[in-house]
Every structure is written in structure tokens, then in C-alpha cells.
Symmetry: C2
Subunit: 365 residues, 2 copies
């Protein structure tokens, strides 16, 4: 069979480990000798619960070292649904019914716009003035100690901007949209009121969101919150109030097993550190490529860079594609190049990209 | 390779045509020579739009003969989300802000319970007293001409109860939850304000809902409706406001192509008619098996029946499984046997089931 997997730098839905796809292919028509696939059985069957759902949940717990007082929820929606679910569930946590939001890019901005429909939203910092490339100074941060929660986006996929420390909120619960960084490095779950993440970057295909929520955070939803927008519903039903995205949960479970086999989060974190470091080094050691992000806030997941001209950006994307390095085009709002190097991007893919970049610079620099 | 696909009668997530699964397996690692799978690319890429999304939408339009003044929406949620979306979007259609609901089983009951949180819900008929096995007489139907809409569930999966005509509402828009019957027979789309259906029975795996909505129905959502609970959002964005369940859309597209290749809805309807008829005949010609549903309302999709004792029901399920006839256990709320014979169940599967039933009756009858 002639077969060529490209190195796929898509920001999401993102590349999936080849061994995981091979496993899916193997199990697709006749899963565990059952005569059907994993996606043709009831979500309430013992097979699904014992062989797919519970192992996925337990393995995620193990990977992220999730404390006992947190619930792990599988929510069958896109991540953007959370932008309404968060305020609907958490604004009532304190009498002021207000929340702090950090505005550090397009995604945190979308969360803010939706939240504003439901309560008093304080934008505690915005880096929009510097096009989301730099952090503001600490004294520009305007946190409210009466806030019900603080929401932020540790990694901004479009801008390649990432927090490497957790904001200090002095007992205000922190809600983090970790869609584009979950499972890429160790996290201290106990510092968060809730973490949520869409699956389409580090956990598999799109169509599922995972939430890790402290048990004291649930039960405060606004009275008119739809049943399936209440975290409490997922807690009470073990995420099985209705038929969930069973393929998505199966895929998440495969990814979790793959990570455990790799050596867990500490191991993938080292690989991610090496991958991003060598790519930023290649950019910084060249005067042809340029990354605009403040060094301490550069993303390990989404590395953006610009060539000297827009024409060269375009040519780069095209020639890269001819060399099986695909989906490198930057987001339309900021242009340039974006190499998304999530967990599933092999280190070899980054090495090949760097070689290609050097070759391209020799040719056109 | 020793390989045996069972005949899988699961009510949902349900069996998927073997040829579709084989296609998925074939395309899983390297789709159309792109070096990636269909679920590892951006939902906004030309590849996804032109080769997955738009063909899926167009083929559904063709299959159901959907008029130009209807929108086809792909919504990344489970079907149960619709139970809140429907009242939130449609109660405001008329000044009374009330709606009529038909209560003909567990699923329509769930829709009613959620809708009651948002407005005046008139249960225009309930067949709960006869355990959802019989229709009430026409004069028991209490429709309200001021209702914003009427909601009903043409096929009740658990009870094997199906409407074979559309209720007459005299200009009150009809909303139908067609999850367990969509694409199984021709429908007159223009009779409906909106049709919605989860994908996990006749369209593929779970995790996606399809809505077919008349253009005049949208834009009336309650002011605090979450952005992704508003049908208008999906209309305005072409169902791409956020990252949708791209695997689900791909699978739906594969199913639509499979149906078109088969000859379309008129052809599958004939097969479904034959499948259910021969199964009901086998039940009716035996005094060992018993179906409790009023004949004119028997479901073509979910055929339920009882053996003389609960012990025999259980033995039947177990021995059937040993004969590669799987997932025949009735819903826990009503017991007995349930054979879900959606589009993807081959006629041969029903033939084998009937043979097994006759053999079982000879042995234990």
C-alpha cells in the first residue's frame, strides 16, 4: 500500500496520533469481538460503561492527578457552549453576580461577549491594544474580590500566547478554558474552580467538551438555565442524562491510554517543551522569520511567525504543503504562519518543519 | 481474518451500514490522498466545506425533497438539548406564548417536562393511561388555536408507537422530534415548522442533531437564550458559528450517500415496510409472542414484543445473543423485547431474527 501521512499542523480539529487512528481502524467493524463497533452500542450498556466510559474517566483522573473533590464531566457540545454555561452556572456564586475576565485574545473575547449577556462582567485586563502579543504590567490588572469567578484562557490558539503561571485571585474561583493546552503539561487542578476543554486539539476529534469541576461549584445555576446547560445535571447523571457523543468519548479514552503508555503528562510535557523550544530557536536565530509574542508568554502549542512579506507567507504555506507539511496558514485575523504542535505532533514533524524553514530561507531569504 | 458482524438491534446508538463502516476504515488515516483523515482538518477549510459539509447538506435536501424555504442545520448537541431549544426559540411566535404537546411516550414526555420550565404548555393529548400503546379518540385531542406551535414525537422508540399521519393543527406550526424515524419513509417537509433528529439512530453515531427549519420560524428566541441555543445563530453562520462535530457530519454524509445509492427514501421505505410487516406478521401468527400496540400505530422502526414470562424474555435475549442477534432487550421501563430495525438493519437480519423466534418458540413454547 502506498501511504503517506502528512505532518498536519492544523489548529483544530487537529492531528490525531497515528497509532490511535490505527487502533480505531482495527476496532471499527468488530470491537472486542462483539460483532459491532464501539459506536453502535447503548451508552448505558455494561460494555460501554465498563470498557469505554469509566476507563476514560479514570485515566484522565490519573493523567491530571485530579483530586477526589472534583467531578469529571463529558459534555456533548462544542466548547463555545461553555461561554454561556459558565456565567449561567457561576454568576450566582456570590451576591454581586459579577465576574472577572481576562481578555488576551479572540477566544477569551468570545467568552466575554457571551457572558456580558448574563451579568456584570469586569474585563480585569485586556491586551487588545498590543494585538494580544504582550502581557500588561501587574498594576494594570484590576481584579474584583467580590467577583463570583475569574475566567481566562491560558492558551490563545490564534495569537500563540500562553500563560505559564496561574493568575493570583485571592480565593476567587478560577475558570479556565484549556481547550488548546489541556494534557500538554502538568496542571495544579486544585487551583481551579473549573477547567474545561474542547476535545478537538489535544483529545481527539471535535464534538465533545470535558469539564473538571470542584464539587462546591455546582448547584448555583440561574433558574432558567436549560437542563443540559447545568453542570449539576452532568454530575447527578454521571454525564449520562442523555445519549452522549460516544465516539468522542471512545476517542478521548484512546488518547488518554496513548498518553499513559507514553509515560504520562510529565513525559509529554518534556517533549512539548523540546518541540516548541527548537521551533522558537529556529525562528529567533533567523532574521527571515519573526514571532511577535513576548517571550515569557509564547505558546508551546501554537507557534506563530511571519515571513518578510505576505507573498512569502503564502508561498511558504504552499511549498510546505507540497512537502507534506500541511495546514500551516495562520488564522485569517492575523495572517502569517501558525504551526500548531499539540501532543499528537511528533517531534520528528517539528524537525522536518525546521529543516524546511531553513531550506526555504536559503531559497528566498 | 475471522470476522463476524452481528445483527445489532440496538435502539441507539444503533447499527451503521457495514459498507459505510468499511468506507470510514478505508479513509481513516489518509482521506482523499490528503495525508490526514477527514476529522483532522479545519471545519472552515475548503476541503471540509466542499467535500464533506456541503455535499451532506445537499444530499439530505435531495433525499427528503426539502423545499427552498427551509434551512438545514447541523447542531453539535445531543437531541435532548432540543427540548429546551424548542420552547426558547418558538414560544414567542404568538402573543399567548403557549404551546401544545402530544404526550405519547417517554421521549415526548421529556420534551414536555423541559418545555414547562419556559411557558404555558398544554398537553393536548396523553396516552399515558394506556401505557402509551393506543391512540386516544379524536375528540379527546384538545388543540389550542392560539398555540405558538405543536410538538410531537412521530415515533416513540421505547414503546414502539408511531404516527402514520400528521396531526391536523390548522396553521399552528408543527415541530416534530423525528430522531428515530427520519429518512425511513417519505415526509412532507412543508407540513412542518421544524423537524429535528438526533443522528444516533438513522444517521450514524451519536453527538449531532439535524434540524430542518422553515425560514419564518427563526428569530423569535427569548432574549436570554444562549447564542448556541438560537436556531438563528446556525442559520446566520451556516452551522459554522463554532467547531462542529466534524466526524458526525462526515458520517451523516456517508449515510446520505449510501441511501441515495440505494435508490433514495422511496426505496428504503419499501424495505422498511417489508421488514416491519414480516416481523409483526411473525408475532401475530404466534400465540407465544405478543405486541401490545394498537395496529394502526405500530412502529416500523422499533418492534416490541413480550414472551409469556419475564424469564422467557430474558432467556430469549441471551440465546439470541449467542446466535449473533444482539441488543434485543426491551427498555427497562417496559421490559420485554425490542427489535430496532432502522434503515441500517438489513432485511436479512430480520429474516434471521424471525427464524430464531420460530426456533425458540418450538423449543420453549
Amino acid at each position: 500500500m502506498t501511504f503517506h501521512r502528512a505532518y498536519n499542523f492544523c489548529a483544530g480539529p487537529a492531528t490525531i496520533p497515528e497509532v490511535v487512528l490505527e487502533r480505531v481502524r482495527e476496532e471499527l467493524l468488530n470491537w472486542k469481538g462483539r460483532g459491532s463497533s464501539f459506536m453502535e452500542i447503548s451508552h448505558r450498556s455494561t460494555d460501554f460503561l465498563k470498557l469505554v466510559f469509566e476507563p476514560a474517566r479514570e485515566n484522565l483522573k490519573k493523567l491530571l492527578n485530579i483530586p477526589e473533590d472534583y467531578h469529571i464531566l463529558f459534555i456533548t457540545t462544542g466548547t463555545s457552549h461553555q461561554f454561556a454555561m459558565v456565567p449561567l452556572n457561576f454568576l450566582n456564586l456570590k451576591p454581586h453576580k459579577s465576574a472577572d475576565y481576562l481578555h488576551t485574545g479572540v477566544w477569551s473575547g468570545k467568552a466575554i461577549n457571551e457572558a456580558k449577556r448574563y451579568g456584570n462582567i469586569n474585563v480585569a485586563l485586556s491586551t487588545e491594544n498590543n494585538r494580544f502579543t504582550k502581557m500588561c504590567s501587574p498594576n494594570e490588572l484590576k481584579l474584583d474580590s467580590n467577583a463570583s469567578y475569574l475566567h481566562y484562557t491560558p492558551n490563545e490558539t490564534i495569537h500563540g500566547f500562553q500563560f505559564h503561571t496561574i493568575p493570583e485571585t485571592h480565593n476567587v474561583p478560577i475558570i479556565a478554558d484549556m481547550s488548546s493546552e489541556i494534557l500538554s503539561r502538568p496542571i495544579e487542578v486544585s487551583r481551579y474552580g473549573m477547567i474545561y476543554a474542547g476535545t478537538q486539539k489535544n483529545i481527539g476529534p471535535s464534538g465533545l467538551t470535558i469539564a473538571i469541576i470542584h464539587k462546591n461549584m455546582a448547584g448555583f445555576a440561574n433558574a432558567l438555565t436549560p437542563t443540559l446547560y447545568q453542570y449539576q445535571t452532568y454530575i447527578d447523571s454521571g454525564s449520562l442524562y442523555h445519549t452522549p457523543n460516544t465516539f468522542g468519548i471512545y476517542m478521548a479514552g484512546c488518547i488518554f491510554e496513548w498518553l499513559l503508555n507514553l509515560g504520562g503528562i510529565s513525559e509529554i510535557a518534556k517533549i512539548n517543551q523540546r518541540k516548541s523550544q527548537k521551533l522558537y530557536d529556529a525562528i529567533d536565530h533567523s532574521s527571515f522569520y519573526r514571532n511577535p509574542v513576548q517571550k515569557e508568554f509564547r505558546s508551546q502549542m501554537n507557534v506563530i511567525y511571519y515571513l518578510p512579506t505576505v507573498e512569502l507567507d503564502q508561498l511558504f504555506v504552499k511549498e510546505a504543503q507540497n512537502n507534506h507539511l500541511i495546514n500551516l496558514k495562520g488564522h485569517k485575523s492575523i495572517g502569517g504562519i501558525r504551526a500548531s504542535i499539540y501532543n499528537a505532533m511528533p517531534e520528528k514533524g517539528v524537525d522536518v518543519l525546521i529543516e524546511f524553514m531553513q531550506e526555504f530561507e536559503r531559497k528566498y531569504g
